[in-house]
């Protein structure tokens, strides 16, 4: 009782001092907060603060858990908890109480509760589920404030899976009489669109209604959605161009109520938004741009007032004018505008002016020339941000003439800069420029030395890598290469003789590699001198162990016997007992190789940098070791995913639906007991060793017991060992240890190992070919007589930025696959394969084969099927070569430039990407059995040759790797070059796009560049995944990402399910695993081996679909495409 009185009394003073003013009406609840804050401000040390807060948290904890605490007190406690959290102290015990407050309190307490929840929790927090009901209730409330609060919290964070529960209510709010509610509802829906686009797909019409809302505020809110959607797919919204133009016209013309004016500018933020949308719509579209010219002109004219916000509008205007299809008088005005920005004394405007210039110079380099003086002034500006922006601009206008000056400026900036992020960024740019435009060797080496010393260990690792690659590959003239290397050796020796202690590790690694590789070029230089210098580096205490191993490698290359032996012996003795295993290994290598000059000559070939290395990525040289170990009773290797699957199977209780359907499907499978290679390949994938299974092909039933599909049990082994012995044709190479570190070194210093003969079954290789590769598709290709491995060039000729390690060290996976196919063929099961592949090909995307493929006699019927089915091909946006329109000679002509191995593949329509002057860029994609190839055609229609063509592709969602560079960097007039890229999905998204830039130079002119983008639907990456029902069950359990949704059925009655699934199968190339009554299961995979499983059930006239995959977002994207496919049907 006394407790209550005391509390009341402490609340009294603040109540009495209650201020009638609205601003400070609530001191009553903050007195304790006040004390806390006062306490904290009086403290001097972080430690004391910590103590005080801990004390405070403890007292809050006491009170929140006490049942006597009223909601009103809880509200006050919550504010204190928020305060503590904002200082960085965790108060997780209050989370649940925040939710309770939002659930049970009055409107005012609810507000605090919601605020606390939205500050404490995130979208994936499990407690958030408890909030769903509250939100649901509040959305239905008659109290507007409660509805507002619910909408606010929903837009801040809401669990993705729970969106369907509240979606109808939020949609309903779009028709609410109050505009503030409509507006918040629009933004909440936008948030849903961002986190789960497929959920709000059906309400696109309502977005349009919001756009036409009578209240400008609601319309403004809807622009958020449109900006986003148009960004993703500008083509789909071209019809709205005129509407947006009209809206902008009205806004600019002052037709909105005065309330919307800000500093007497009509709705500036709205204008900015609209201009951005227009820029997106008018990009590369002449007719859409034509509609905009007038209003843009009007905007430029109207925005003359001297206020910050008018500049914001002007800036967007200028950007828009330069993005859309050009119109000369507008461009002129825009250019003048940019001039005003750049020349402005206001620093913010200067910044934006530079930004605009950077954006514009790619199209109009003259503009930079006009403002030359200003730009130079900006270089010496006191604001680092302005300086950086200027350098960015300079970077864009660099060419062979000005490179020396610009790089000098950049390095100057780098030397004084302290911000890591800027350093990393700028160092990359300098390296790129130096590589591209270096006027001579000395300059190049010196610049790169500065880059390495300034960039230190922060810079991107590909800078030193590509530098070393460049050195080792050289250019066209042997003599030039020699000079370059010689100069590098010279300058590095000088550096080491000075003060090597200050050099960063990465630089030391580069130095040691270069010295190891090329110091022999310098005749008068004694190896001993170099060795001593290197040994000195080893002794420095700052040298990291990675660097040490680089140095030891270099020494290994240098010791040729003779005088240096003593230095070497000393070093190798020191490090052969090192704690670091890598170092120890290097030291031993050094020791052996320095003594055995014959072996050394064999292992470390000099000047072999130019020859591509065959890398045995399957580690087949370890086979002997593996089989010995197995014979000695070691457990066979299981890949991680298999281990996981087994774990999942071992779980006693499974609440998943497939746990139930498993036994049935399993038995059905074992009854049929068919030996289709599909089954073989899948089970072999699971067991991790298919060679064995293919040898004992008859006993498939054995392998159906799911869990124990593990090889290496007794009885297998003798057979296996026999096979393995035959495989050991290869000499194991000491240097090829798994602990190999120096990537650049290894690619240039090793003897090419002989590849194992393809006919030997090789279990390791098959392990490498990953689980879901769908062996069947490859084997069928094999049968067709076209086992084309992707051509991989190890040598990079163009100086574009590629990752040297990935291209040079890893052999093409398709090689492995090819071997694998051969293995199977040789295992006397070729005939079975042929039969099954005939079956498979009918399921396979038709696009994978071309009509012109010479098909073996036994498979001719497949060709027939293919020809009967052209509609499928068109559906996929792929036009088979045979179906090519005769009136498109240009495409055909471009296609003829494809390399032979690609020209027979099926290709999509050739889309023009961009045109600059006489250079025309176009692209198409080609479907290969296990990859997607993007071919970019660059045709030069002028008479003169172009130089320095650099094509650079990048994508957020895709992994773009260059398959082969164009053979020549310069190319003649009237010719075409083809760049090939192989695409795989990195992050699934509904549509994926590739952004790229191309730059080139006409002789004697400044370089030019253009940007383009290429868009692809995700569906072209989808391939059927052939699994059996019980494999499906196993996989289902192990996948963690899922999504559920109801889809419309096609047709009705008994056949509806089959019909619907057939549509999906045809359109999306899903594989129908089995249909059981009213349920069906399907599977597919995304290149490369990212499986996705689908379970459908007919329920109340709709198709309840459940998708699962190990890949996040894949289920969401797939369901979107399923929905689309069914709608289109």
């Amino acid at each position: 009782m006394s407790d209550v009185v005391e509390k009341t009394l402490t609340a009294l003073p603040s109540l009495l001092s209650l201020d009638p003013q609205p601003g400070s009406a609530k001191l009553s609840s903050t007195s304790k907060l006040g004390n806390l804050i006062r306490g904290i401000t009086e403290l001097t040390s972080k430690h004391e603060e910590e103590k005080l807060i801990q004390h405070e948290l403890a007292s809050i904890k006491d009170q929140v858990s006490s049942p006597n605490t009223s909601m009103r007190q809880m509200k006050e406690l919550m504010v204190r908890a928020i305060y503590c959290e904002s200082l960085g102290y965790e108060a997780s015990f209050t989370y649940i109480h925040a939710i309770k407050l939002a659930q049970q309190g009055t409107a005012l307490e609810k507000r605090v509760g919601y605020l606390a929840v939205s500050l404490f929790l995130n979208e994936s927090h499990e407690l958030l589920l408890l909030l769903v009901n509250t939100v649901l209730k509040d959305l239905q409330s008659t109290n507007l404030i409660e509805v507002c609060m619910a909408l606010t919290v929903v837009s801040q964070m809401f669990p993705k899976d729970m969106i369907p529960a509240i979606l109808p209510l939020v949609e309903e709010k779009l028709n609410h009489p109050k505009e503030i509610i409509r507006r918040k509802a629009v933004l909440a829906l936008y948030k849903f669109y961002l986190i789960a686009p497929n959920q709000v797909q059906h309400i696109h019409n309502k977005f349009r209604k919001a756009l036409c809302d009578k209240d400008p505020g609601v319309m403004t809110a809807s622009l958020h959605i449109y900006l986003q959607m148009i960004q993703e797919n500008p083509e789909g919204y071209k019809d709205l161009t005129a509407s947006f133009v009209t809206i902008l016209k009205q806004v600019v013309g002052g037709k909105l109520p005065m309330d919307f004016n800000y500093h007497s500018v009509p709705a500036p933020w709205l204008q900015i938004q609209l201009l951005r949308i227009l820029a997106l719509l008018g990009k590369n579209d002449q007719s859409a741009s034509a509609v905009m010219y007038e209003v843009l002109d009007e905007s430029l004219r109207r925005a003359e007032m001297n206020h910050n916000i008018t500049y914001a509008i002007l800036y967007e205007c200028v950007k828009c004018i330069y993005t859309i299809h050009p119109k000369s008088d507008l461009l002129e005005k825009a250019a003048k505008c940019i001039g005003n920005f750049v020349l402005s004394p206001k620093i913010n405007l200067k910044y934006l002016g530079l930004k605009a210039l950077t954006y514009v110079v790619q199209q109009d380099p003259r503009l930079a020339l006009q403002h030359q003086m200003t730009i130079i002034e900006c270089l010496d500006h006191s604001d680092l941000i302005i300086k950086r922006e200027t350098l960015e601009l300079l970077f864009r206008i660099t060419n062979a003439q000005n490179v020396v000056v610009i790089v000098e400026k950049m390095l100057e900036f780098l030397r004084v800069n302290t911000d890591d992020y800027t350093t990393i960024d700028l160092v990359g740019k300098v390296a790129e420029l130096a590589e591209k435009y270096a006027p001579d060797n000395e300059w190049f080496i010196e610049t790169m030395s500065t880059v390495f010393s300034v960039g230190g260990d922060m810079m991107q690792p590909d800078i030193p890598n590509s530098f070393l690659k460049l050195l080792s590959e050289g250019f066209d003239s042997v003599e030039e290469d020699r000079k370059l290397r010689l100069f590098a050796v010279d300058s590095y020796i000088t550096l080491l003789q000075k003060e090597p202690g200050k050099l960063p590790q990465r630089f030391l690694q580069v130095i040691s590699w270069v010295l190891g590789e090329y110091s022999h070029l310098k005749d008068e230089l004694e190896p001993t001198v170099v060795l001593k210098l290197l040994a000195k580096l080893l002794d420095m205490k700052h040298t990291s162990s990675e660097t040490k191993s680089w140095i030891l490698m270099a020494m290994t290359k240098l010791c040729e016997g003779g005088a240096e032996v003593s230095v070497v012996r000393e070093v190798s003795e020191t490090y052969s007992s090192s704690m670091d295993t890598v170092l120890r290994q290097r030291a031993h290598e050094l020791q052996y190789l320095s003594q055995d000059s014959e072996l050394r000559a064999k292992v470390l070939l000099r000047d072999n940098g130019l020859r591509p290395l065959e890398v045995d990525s399957s580690l087949s040289f370890l086979d002997g070791f593996v089989s010995e170990a197995l014979a000695a009773g070691a457990a066979p290797y299981k890949p991680p995913h298999q281990r996981q699957e087994e774990l999942a199977q071992a779980k006693a209780l499974s609440l998943e639906p497939y746990g139930l359907s498993l036994p049935m499907s399993m038995s059905s499978c074992s009854i049929t007991d068919r030996q289709s290679p599909t089954l073989l390949s899948m089970s072999s994938g699971l067991s991790g060793d298919s060679a064995e299974i293919s040898h004992k092909g008859g006993s498939t039933s054995l392998k159906l017991d799911g869990v124990k599909r593990v090889w290496g049990r007794e009885g297998y082994l003798p057979q296996r060992a026999a096979v393995e012995e035959a495989a050991q044709v290869e000499v194991p190479c000491t240097l090829r240890s798994p602990s190999q570190q120096g990537d650049a070194d290894s690619s240039h210093s090793q003897t090419p190992t002989s590849t194992p003969t393809p006919t030997e079954p090789d279990p390791e290789k098959q392990q490498l070919a990953s689980l879901f590769f769908g062996l069947s598709s490859q084997s069928s290709v094999c049968l067709m007589g076209k086992p084309e491995p992707t051509p991989h060039r190890f040598r990079r000729k163009a100086k574009g930025v590629t990752d040297p390690t990935s291209s040079s060290l890893i052999s093409t996976p398709s090689n492995v696959e090819k071997l694998l196919c051969n293995n199977l063929l040789d295992s006397n099961i070729a005939s079975e394969l042929a039969v099954s592949s005939a079956k498979q090909i009918t399921e396979l995307p038709q696009g994978l084969k071309t009509a012109s493929c010479d098909v073996e006699a036994e498979l001719t019927d497949i060709a027939d099927i293919k020809q009967n089915n052209p509609s499928l091909i068109v559906d996929n946006g792929i036009v088979a070569a045979a179906d090519e329109d005769p009136d498109r000679p240009k495409d055909l002509c471009l296609i003829s430039h494809l390399p032979a191995e690609l020209s027979e593949l099926c290709h999509s329509e050739i889309t023009p990407l961009c045109t600059i002057q006489s250079l025309v860029l176009s692209a198409c994609h080609l479907q290969k059995e296990d990859s997607l190839v993007l071919a970019v055609f660059i045709s030069n229609s002028s008479d003169s040759a172009l130089q320095h063509i650099v094509l650079d592709l990048d994508s957020e969602q895709l992994e773009v790797s260059c398959v082969s560079d164009s053979p020549a960097e310069d190319f003649r007039g009237h010719s075409v070059v083809v760049y090939q890229y192989s695409l795989t999905v990195k992050r699934p998204s509904i549509h994926v796009s590739i952004e790229g830039t191309v730059s080139f130079q006409l002789p004697g002119e400044a370089p030019q560049a253009a940007q383009f983008s290429y868009k692809l639907p995700l569906t072209i990456f989808i391939r059927p995944l052939t699994v059996s029902t019980e494999e499906y069950g196993t996989m289902w359990l192990s996948f963690s990402h899922d999504t559920k949704q109801n889809l419309t059925l096609i047709g009705d009655g008994q056949e509806a399910l089959t019909a619907t699934l057939n549509v999906l199968k045809q359109k999306l190339q899903l594989h129908v695993v089995e249909i059981i009554g009213q349920e069906g299961i399907l599977s597919c995979r995304l290149l490369q081996d990212q499986p996705c499983l689908m379970h459908c059930r007919v329920h109340a006239g709709t198709l309840a679909v459940w998708l699962r995959s190990p890949v996040p977002d894949l289920p969401d994207c797939l369901i979107y495409h399923c929905q689309r496919a069914l709608q289109e049907y």
Binding site: S24, P268, I272, D383, I385
Partner: protein, 165 residues
Amino acid sequence: MIKAILIFNNHGKPRLIRFYQYFAEDMQQQIIRETFHLVSKRDDNVCNFLEGGSLIGGSDYKLIYRHYATLYFVFCVDSSESELGILDLIQVFVETLDKCFENVCELDLIFHMDKVHYILQEVVMGGMVLETNMNEIVAQVEVQNRMEKSEVSVQCQPVAELISG
């Protein structure tokens, strides 16, 4: 989209922290520290834009800030926002605070942190700009205040009785 709104004082003490993208608690604190570090070393006569804090994500992000007496208002945005537009939005937000608190100062933000959040919620919702019209924002806040007042006056009743009794 706006990724985060941070208000801290000249000593780096956070006064209002609002993230619209999820970051773990310690990451949030690190971001606040880094942002303060970046912003505080800049003079008042340089531009109000900053690029490339390494924590809150690479080249697509930008810090747009304003410095008022003892407080820094920092908005972290991605490339879909207009720089000058946000700069004026900060101004609108601060003017609104000024109107609601009558001569706003740092202490108001400390003692009425929740209230500042409510005002902010009317300006920016889930990372999207909701309202830029100051009168409209103030009107929405007023509506909420009225509700508050009515509730407080109801609660005052029993306390008065208790004192007299």
